[in-house]
């Protein structure tokens, strides 16, 4: 059965384009323009994944409210924010509300599809019984590329998809400097330098919350970042 994706987006053209693209990739799509409309539909039937814009019609933060309500309805449902707002504040707010990823509208459709399928893979992997996974181990770091889960010293670190991909890129070749372009490419991101910096900061903070002594990600000024060998 095809997965059902809900797109909540107030701009008709974007909504239609995304819906068509998603449909072409073999998913079932239901698109909504308003928060109330989407929410009543969700109550009737939950989608398998939701892509939500933050500004919905005359509600500038309607997407946040929708995410909160949807998360209350379905704790495990993957939610992606897809929005024009790219300030750190909005990113942090969105992720705190329980979204699995936060994308700006710079993202290309292939990137968006990659993320959607990655999230489904994660869901599926979590449902399946544990099999030989695509694990990556670097000292105390353990990355599961199928489930998109990370752990440090046996303790799970909650990373978003973007963050997971960045850590994965860095840790794959310890000691190698990954410049910002490489990080962006691997994380399917199109952002400016400042956003990469704040992503790295958030990653460091998440690891530091598990282990205050965490100091594995090196900044190589002028070049990029490096996972200490």
């Amino acid at each position: 059965m095809a997965k059902r994706i809900a797109i909540v987006e107030d701009d008709a053209a974007i909504r239609a384009n995304y819906a068509e693209a998603v449909k072409k990739h073999g998913y079932e799509v239901s698109a909504y323009a308003r928060r109330a409309e989407a929410m009543s539909a969700f109550r009737a039937r939950l989608p398998d994944l939701a892509v939500i814009d933050i500004g919905l019609g005359d509600e500038p933060d309607g997407g946040f409210a929708l995410c909160r309500d949807l998360r209350a309805l379905a704790p495990a449902l993957p939610i992606i924010f897809l929005t024009a707002r790219d300030s750190d504040f909005d990113v942090v707010s969105g992720l705190r509300l329980g979204a699995d990823d936060y994308l700006t509208k710079d993202v290309s459709l292939p990137h968006l599809m990659a993320r959607i399928s990655a999230l489904f893979r994660r869901i599926d992997a979590l449902r399946e019984p544990k099999v030989a996974d695509e694990a990556l181990e670097r000292g105390p770091l353990r990355l599961d590329a199928r489930r998109f889960t990370a752990s440090w010293k046996e303790r799970p670190v909650e990373l978003t998809l973007t963050e997971f991909w960045m850590v994965h890129t860095l840790a794959k070749f310890p000691g190698h400097v990954k410049d910002r372009d490489a990080l962006m490419r691997d994380a399917n991101l199109v952002v400016d330098d400042g956003t990469i910096t704040s992503h790295i900061k958030r990653i460091r903070r998440k690891f530091a919350a598990v282990d205050p002594a965490f100091d594995q990600i090196d900044t190589v000024y002028g070049m990029g970042y490096r996972w200490k060998a």
């Binding site: 974007i14 384009n17 024009a84 707002r85 710079d106 290309s108 400042g194 900044t219 002028g222």
Partner: protein
């Protein structure tokens, strides 16, 4: 034209000088009072003369001329008068031509004054004339009548029609030293001298012969007038009243008084006036200066706040605090506050405009992008693919512009919440330049670092971003093969990071504006096809970062005239134990 700067305080102090008109008004008042007093004195004197004359009316016997006896009081009076004149060394003009007899010119040695006057001073005339005259003598009677006035400060004498002095009583001089003058007089005595009691009190012949008042009285008309003493040290008021004998004038009573009491009162009044006005002036000036200081300090505070309200970057640093007083300055400060508040809102609107615009533009770009990508997914003609590629290329550039546009705003917003950490600027520069050698393989980098770490408090990432901007700028202007010089040195609490490159010079007019937003000095030359879009924000971002680190930016042309040097300065953080650098 530039007016001289006079502070408000001094202007009000100058206004206070107008108070100095007070003494002038007071002086005018004192003079009026003096005139009034003089008038009163004249009237009083005339009344005295009238009263005495009344006693002498219709007593022709009394007024008859008798000159036989030496002891006659009249003669003695004449002798006194003559003697007074002689002792002052005046020309021996007889007081009365009729009395100028041999032997009578000699002064009477009898001067029964206990207190001897100082040397050179005139002796006091006898207070009572003809004390030892024989009884039932007419002049003696006159003298008795006159005795009533002897305790006053007026001198009264009686002249006959033929201008002979029949009797004389009283003195023009006032007793001295009876008053205790205040401290003000001791201080200001020099300014307002008391009239001297040491004057020539003789009755000159002129006074008798030419005295207007006496002449008028002898014609039957009472009259009052002023004359000076012969030595001009005092002014004497003379009042003359006719003595009637029947219908004809038998003689005249002349009453004289100096104006000294009035002069004394005047000078005392002036003294007090001066003291009072000085006191009032001091108090008023003090109050005015206090007031002006208050006002001008409030205005100055307002000015200082208004000047610092806009920072060096032309942005609103803080809004003027509205003063609470209800006067005009309070109003002004409130309008300033409101004005700056509105300006601040407008500035915020402008600053947010770029990032808001980029947000707004993102949505239509997303429409175009997603449409193009959908188009690519559907089967299309080969020809169409070319155009799709071009459209995507344009879209990519548009996206970069939008990202750049919001970059500066985002950076500034981020700075306020950024946590400062200590880092070694030298290490950041070394690492960055290593990176640039990879990133710009066709450029040569020369690096000069101090041997010691350069600790700076701030953000290493931002410092690297700053150097990125400077180096990107330098690389754009340098021909391949020419070196780019990166030099870091620290001295006197400041670290200076200098990036030099050969290349086109900066136009002089642009030097100051170079670090402002949306300012670019790039000509057509630098805009190679396919180059990244340039908004003139790079150096602005560099400046924001430098200012965050307590420094600033400067740009100059090299002394050799073939290149440009851009310098960013940082405040060196004082040494601290357990500094963590990443």
């Amino acid at each position: 034209m530039r007016l001289p700067r006079i502070s408000l305080r001094w202007k009000l102090a100058l206004v206070a000088l107008l108070l100095l008109a007070l003494p002038w008004a007071g002086y005018e008042y004192v003079r009026e009072m003096e005139r009034f007093l003089l008038d009163g004195q004249e009237q009083a004197l005339l009344a005295t003369a009238r009263a005495i004359a009344t006693a002498l009316h219709d007593r022709p016997g009394l007024m008859a001329p008798r000159v036989e006896r030496e002891a006659d009081p009249r003669v003695r009076a004449e002798q006194e008068l003559a003697g007074l004149a002689a002792r002052r060394g005046e020309s021996a003009e007889p007081a009365n031509p009729d009395a100028a007899k041999p032997g009578a010119a000699k002064p009477d040695p009898a001067s029964p004054d206990a207190a001897s006057p100082p040397a050179g001073a005139a002796p006091r005339p006898p207070s009572i004339i003809a004390r030892e005259s024989s009884p039932r003598d007419e002049p003696r009677e006159i003298a008795d009548i006159l005795r009533g006035v002897q305790h006053t400060t007026s001198r009264v004498w009686v002249v006959s029609r033929d201008l002979r002095v029949l009797a004389l009583a009283g003195t023009l001089r006032r007793p001295e030293g009876e008053e205790d003058e205040g401290w003000a007089h001791r201080v200001l005595g020099e300014l307002f001298p008391r009239p001297s009691e040491n004057f020539d009190d003789t009755i000159g012949y002129d006074a008798l012969a030419n005295g207007r008042e006496i002449a008028a009285a002898l014609r039957g008309v009472p009259d009052v007038g002023l004359r000076g003493t012969p030595d001009a040290k005092a002014v004497v008021i003379t009042a003359a009243h006719p003595v009637w004998s029947g219908d004809e004038v038998a003689g005249a009573v002349v009453a004289e008084e100096t104006t000294n009491s009035i002069l004394t009162a005047r000078s005392r009044a002036l003294e007090r006036l001066l003291v009072v006005t000085l006191a009032v002036f001091a108090v008023a000036a003090g109050v005015l200066i206090w007031l002006a200081t208050g006002i001008s300090s409030r205005i100055r505070r307002l000015r200082d706040e208004a000047e610092t309200a806009i920072d060096a970057r032309g942005r609103l640093a803080h809004v003027v605090t509205a003063q609470r007083s209800g006067d005009e300055i309070g109003d002004l400060s409130r309008s300033f506050s409101a004005l700056l508040g509105k300006l601040g809102q407008y500035n915020a609107y402008l600053e947010g405009l770029a990032s808001r615009m980029s947000h707004e533009l993102r949505t239509p770009i997303a429409v175009v992008r997603s449409s193009l990508e959908n188009l690519k997914l559907s089967p299309t003609a080969e020809e169409a693919r070319v155009y799709i590629g071009r459209a995507e290329d344009g879209l990519r550039r548009l996206g970069t512009i939008l990202t750049r546009m919001s970059e500066a705003t985002r950076l500034e917003q981020g700075l306020s919440s950024l946590e400062r950490e200590r880092f070694d600027l030298a290490a950041v520069v070394r690492g960055s330049v290593d990176g640039y050698r990879l990133a710009y393989p066709d450029r040569r980098f020369e690096l000069h670092l101090p041997g010691v770490p350069v600790p700076v408090s701030g953000s290493a990432d931002l410092a690297a971003q700053l150097l990125d901007k400077l180096v990107a700028n330098a690389a754009d202007f340098t021909a391949s093969g020419d070196p780019i010089l990166v030099r870091l040195d620290a001295a006197g609490g400041a670290a200076r990071l200098r990036v030099e490159n050969k290349g086109p010079l900066l136009p002089e007019t642009m030097r100051a504006k170079l670090f402002e937003a949306m300012v670019s000095v790039r000509g057509e030359r630098a805009d190679k096809p396919g180059a990244e879009p340039h908004l003139g924000l790079g150096l602005y971002i560099a400046r924001v970062i430098a200012e965050y680190h307590g420094g600033g930016m400067a740009a100059e042309n090299l002394a050799s005239g073939d290149g440009v040097a851009v310098t960013a300065s940082f405040r060196v953080a004082p040494e601290k134990a357990a500094a963590t650098t990443r």
